[in-house]
Each structure stands twice: as C-alpha cells, then as structure tokens.
C-alpha cells in the first residue's frame, strides 16, 4: 500500500489548517455561503437535505485496517455510528456538524487520509479496478498510475476551477471492473509490441446526458501520461461550457466539437505546453511501484476446502475469487444485506472487519465502485474461518454480481437533489429476491438505482436501470434495460412509461420472466439475452394489460 512521504503529510496538514481558517471565516461571516461553497466542496463537504455530508477520499479504493478503524471512530464520535461507501470508492458521513469538520479532517490526517477534491469542479478521487494487482490476466497494476495521477491532480493550480467535476479511472485489464468508459477520462493499460502504455478514452459520463467515452489515443507512452492529461484538461478548461451547468461536462464539449476536432486541440496543447518536468522517468515510476508490491505470500492449499455447509458453499461460490497466487483467494464482502442501505457499514462492522483484515489479509481492504469491500489476500486454508467471522457481523451475504447486489444512490432519504427515494427500492429488491437459489437461477444481473436524473446510482449503465421521478408529488420509477458499465459499455434504453412504487416490483418480476423464457442456454446472462432479443418483447410483457 502507498505510504505518505513527508511532503504528503505536510500538504495534508497544511490543508487542514487552511480549511479551519475557511470555516472560521464562514462562521464569522467574512465569507458568504456562495464564496464558501466551492471551498468546502473542494474539501468534500456538501450541504444535503438535512445536514452537511462529508465525503472522505479513499484513493483508488485502497484502505488499511488502521484507516478503517479511524473511520469507525469518526462515525461514532462525529456521526451516527455508520458510514456509506460510494460508487467512487469513497466513504461518506451523513451527519457531521460544520464546526466539527476541521477536527474530523485532523483525525483523518493522522491515518494519512483526507477529503481533498472529493467534490467540487476539480479532478476528483482517481478510481481503479478493485482487483488491481490481484489477477493473472492483468497487463499491469493500475494503482501506481492512480497514485501518480493523484499527486499531479491534487491542488493543481490551473485545474481547481474547471467548468464542472472531472473523473478519471484506470484499469490494467481488458475486462473492465472500473467503468472507465463512463468517466471523463478512462485509461487502460495495454501492451503494444512489448511496450506497455495507455489506451486513452475521453468524454464518458452519466448524469442527464449519458455518453460512452470515445477513444482519443490508441497508445500513449507511459512517460507522456501527465503531459497528455494536462493537454486534455487545458482544452477542457479553456473551451468547456460555463453557461449551463448541465452542459458543462467534457462529454458535451467533445460531442459539440466532434472527437477529431477535440483531438486536434488536445494534440496542439500537448505539443505546445508539454512540460519536461512532467515527463515520467523510469526511476520515478519504479519508486511508486515499490509501494504496491504483493505482501509475502506463502505456499499452502491449492484449493479452498469444500466444507459441507450449504451456506458456506453458496457464499464461496459467489463471493470468493481466485488470486493470482494459487494458494490465496480474494474475498468480496457484500455490503448489500437486507438490513442496511447498499454500501452502508456500521462502526462495529468496520472495526471488526479491520480486525479480520489484520488477521487474514495483511491489514488490507479495498472498496469497489459497486459499493462492496474486498479482502485481497486470504489463504485458501482460512476461507472457511473468515466466512464464520464475517457471518457474525452480517457481512457474508452471498450475492456478489447477482440481482440483489444493487448500486444505489442515497436518494431522497438524504440528498437535496433527489426526486424520489432509492434506498427503499433497493431494499425491496433485496427482500423480494432474497432466496439465493432464485438469485443464482437469474444469474449475473446488475440493477442500478438513481433517485434523480443526475444518475449517481448509475442507472444508465444498469442491465436494469431504475430512475426515480417525481410525478405531481408522487414517486414514479422509469426503467431502462440493456445498460452496461463494463468493456462492452452501453447506455440502457427506456422501456416505456414509468411505474408507481407499488407496481415497480411486479414490473421487475415480469422483466425477469421474459429473460428466463428467452435464454437459450443455462448460463446465458441477462445482457446477452437483451442484446439478442431487443427491447420489444420486454415492452410487450410490461405494458400488456390483457
């Protein structure tokens, strides 16, 4: 894991002091709320429906047990005893008080954490494949690259007041678990004639106008990464629209200019402004990579023992993945039980999980963009033991990748922008499909739920997407089908008129029926069936009143 240098420590400590000063000026009235807003946002502090919300950065989703314990401490002392893991691999606290926030930031800095650039119109937390460094098929570990980008983008003097927020994701695999094609910039490490470099995508995004990113560079040499990112950001900062907040993301600029014209600007800026000091030399890269070596893994069992316990076997089947070291496994810890909103963890669970990580996984934990957690290196021989411990804290729900593993935004329960609730919908789905064998029969299926058009719950790229709407004061839900955030990324198609909350589950049940009836082999997944048969059959079933 990355460890802070003296410079990192000083920069974060300095920011805590600076933010304290800003809060003091706000409380004394020297700063107006309008002036304070972009400053607090740059420190992850939002004003929500009922209270402030603090979003803490978890760079590329990597956490230590010590950090997780500190998050539990913060949840207890300054919040209501829980935290919410987000789709950008961060964590949110929903109830902090403004005067406490500088102190919270200070507590975070003690464990090398912060809330810098987790919101605001700047470059946000860099996200990555949650299985980075763990799989055989990976070309190269994306985390060191995320760390390089994190540093470059932190307090960038030129790019702290962009037209709108800016999100970058990196993967090292052809299989995309980081949703790079729905990011402002998506980077994929690829190999070309023996050299490793980046395939660069730009202009993806969700929100009210969803777009799949377009490829701007087939192969970018590693050394040029920062200069090329700088060229894209310069182009965006200069030309991105500032007249309409809904048209301010880079995706709109790119689509107004066209990819070819946009690329011309980027290449011109790359040529003109390339800064020699930003060229990454081999020793800089090597030094960062040192932090991300695998821990020393020892020989052991080739396979996870098949203990005769059906609950364990279900969980093992669903939540345990092979590690690139043959004697280890990767454990996915589902935060989608039927007891809590998706992505929520209590301080008790956090503490206990930190202990489990220390005992079984070298003190490492990761956060996935699908709002689950990962214990990255667990000996095959200890998987059963760890399951028992996870079961005790209700973190052994066997549903990774299944219909109840929903992505869900906070919705109207917390968010000032929401037009409908989303958490109760997710809970209804979890209840309705709670039987494991029923879920397994349905197979891989991603349901993503947003409580408004801003699409924080990624509904556009859900195999089944659910969008909460307000119709004359009543909550209605629009369904989209066929979306995907993976390497075959696509935007879902609207199936037809929206459903009331009461009718929604019935509609989902019908969609599942059409899918089951039309699959031509046992393991054909929902997306494949949808692509083959199209939306028509689903429409007929959903809106057939006979």
């Amino acid at each position: 894991m990355y460890k802070y240098s003296e410079i990192d420590k000083k920069i974060v400590a300095n920011r805590v002091k600076q933010f304290k000063n800003q809060v003091d000026r706000r409380l004394s009235g020297k700063l107006t709320e309008d002036e304070f807003k972009p400053l607090r946002l740059m420190n992850g502090l939002y004003l929500q429906l009922h209270a402030y919300m603090l979003r803490v950065a978890i760079p590329y989703g990597e956490l230590s047990s010590k950090q997780l314990r500190q998050l539990a401490f913060i949840a207890d002392k300054y919040d209501r005893g829980y935290g919410h893991f987000t789709t950008r691999q961060n964590i949110q606290f929903n109830w902090p008080k403004l005067p406490d926030v500088p102190e919270i930031l200070e507590e975070l800095s003690k464990v090398e954490m912060h809330a810098i650039q987790t919101s605001g119109n700047c470059i946000r937390n860099i996200s990555a494949d949650h299985l980075a460094g763990l799989t055989i098929e990976e070309i190269e570990d994306p985390r060191p690259w995320c760390e390089i980008i994190r540093k470059w983008s932190t307090f960038h003097p030129e790019f702290s007041f962009l037209p709108r927020k800016f999100k970058i994701a990196v993967t090292g695999c052809s299989e995309d678990r980081a949703a790079i094609l729905v990011h402002d910039i998506g980077l994929r490490l690829i190999k070309d004639k023996g050299d490793i470099g980046f395939e660069v995508f730009v202009g993806g995004g969700q929100g009210r106008s969803p777009y799949i990113a377009k490829k701007i560079k087939n192969f970018l040499p590693k050394k040029d990464l920062l200069n090329y990112l700088e060229a894209i950001l310069t182009t965006y900062n200069q030309l991105g629209r500032r007249d309409n907040i809904y048209k301010a993301r880079i995706k709109i600029l790119l689509n107004e200019l066209g990819i070819e014209k946009f690329k011309e600007f980027v290449e011109e800026n790359f040529k003109r402004f390339s800064n020699k000091k930003l060229i990454l030399d081999k020793s800089t890269i090597k030094n960062i990579f040192k932090f991300f070596k695998l821990p020393s893994l020892k020989p052991g069992l080739e396979k996870v023992p098949e203990i005769k316990n059906s609950l364990f076997l279900e969980w093992k089947n669903q939540n345990v993945l092979p590690h690139k070291h043959p004697n280890y496994s990767i454990i996915l810890v589902s935060l989608k039980s039927n007891e809590k909103p998706p992505g929520d963890a209590s301080s008790i669970q956090m503490r206990k999980l930190a202990d489990i990580a220390d005992k079984y996984s070298f003190g490492e934990i990761r956060v996935t963009h699908e709002q689950n957690l990962v214990l990255p290196h667990v000996e095959n021989s200890r998987v059963y033991e760890i399951w028992n411990e996870l079961l005790n804290i209700n973190l052994a729900t066997p549903n990774i990748g299944l219909i109840t593993d929903t992505i869900c935004c906070p919705g109207m329960d917390y968010c000032a922008l929401a037009t409908a609730r989303s958490i109760p919908i997710s809970q209804k789905i979890t209840d309705h499909f709670k039987n494991y064998s029923h879920q397994k029969e349905i197979g891989d299926l991603k349901i993503k739920i947003s409580g408004c058009i801003n699409a924080c719950g990624h509904h556009h790229v859900g195999n089944i997407g659910i969008l909460g709407l307000d119709r004359k004061g009543k909550e209605f839900y629009q369904i989209t089908l066929g979306g995907s955030a993976k390497e075959n990324a696509s935007i879902g198609q609207i199936v037809g008129p929206s459903f009331s909350e009461k009718d929604l589950m019935g509609a989902i049940e019908k969609i599942i029926k059409v899918y089951k009836k039309n699959k031509i082999y046992e393991k054909e997944d929902f997306l494949s069936v949808f692509k083959r048969i199209g939306i028509k059959k689903f429409k007929e079933k959903l809106y057939d009143n006979n």
Binding site: I7, K10, E158, F161, L278
Partner: protein, 150 residues
Amino acid sequence: MIIIDKISERKNEFIELPDEKLSKKTSLENCLLNLFHWKEKKKEIHEKKIKVALKINSDEELIFGENDLRYIKMIQINFLNFKDGRPFTLAKKLRKKFLYKGEIRASGNILPDQFVFLLRCGFDTVEIKEMEKDTWLELLEFDDGLYYQP
C-alpha cells in the same frame, strides 16, 4: 482598490479612463485599454511604440499579432466570477505559448484563497479592496512552497 503582489502593496502605474477622456488624451502611454480600444488603437501604438496595459474579461478571447506583446507592459485579466477558471489557463498560455514577460494582474470577482493558484499560474499581482489586504497576505502564509506539480 489597491494592487498587491505576493509581498506587499504595489503602486499602480496604469490608468483606466472612461471613453470620452481616452479619446481626448494625447498620449496613451501607461493607459489601461480594454479589448475594443486595444484593437482600435493598435496601429497607433505600434507606430509610436507606446507602452500600454490591456484589460480583458475572463470570457474574452485573446488573439495576438506578431510583436503586439512588446507594447503591452501589463495584462489585467478580470474575473467575472471566481468560479470561472479560464484565466488560470490563459495566464499559463501567456507565459508558455507567447513567452510573455510583462506583468499579469488579476482583478474582479476573486477570492484570497485563490492567491497561491494565481501566482503559480503566472499572475504577478491582484487588484483588491484595501480592507481585504491583510486577509490576502495572511492566507499566503499557508503556502509552504510544497506542491505536487513541478
């Protein structure tokens, strides 16, 4: 309004005149011209080799002809809104693309919290209200010179 650089207050050597006074003025030396006046008087400035200052708004585009910059001692970029980050890129462009060596000044709707960013992007001075001077200079004390960007 006063002008400060990263250390203290600075004398403002440029004057901004209303249109009617500007048209009567015999010499444009050290006058602060807007983009319209600059275009109008450019020929005269080149011919007489007069040194002026230029004021543009954050939403205006700057296009320079050959040798224009040698007659512009100072470029003042006026922020229409502190959230509009274009001037940061514009200052970088002036320094790196046009190799401009004169003064770059920020004015308009800017926050003291932006001072370090302004200086780091190539601005030299800011125009602020006199009463805000202490806050602006105090906030610079948070800058310990440690940055991630070279």
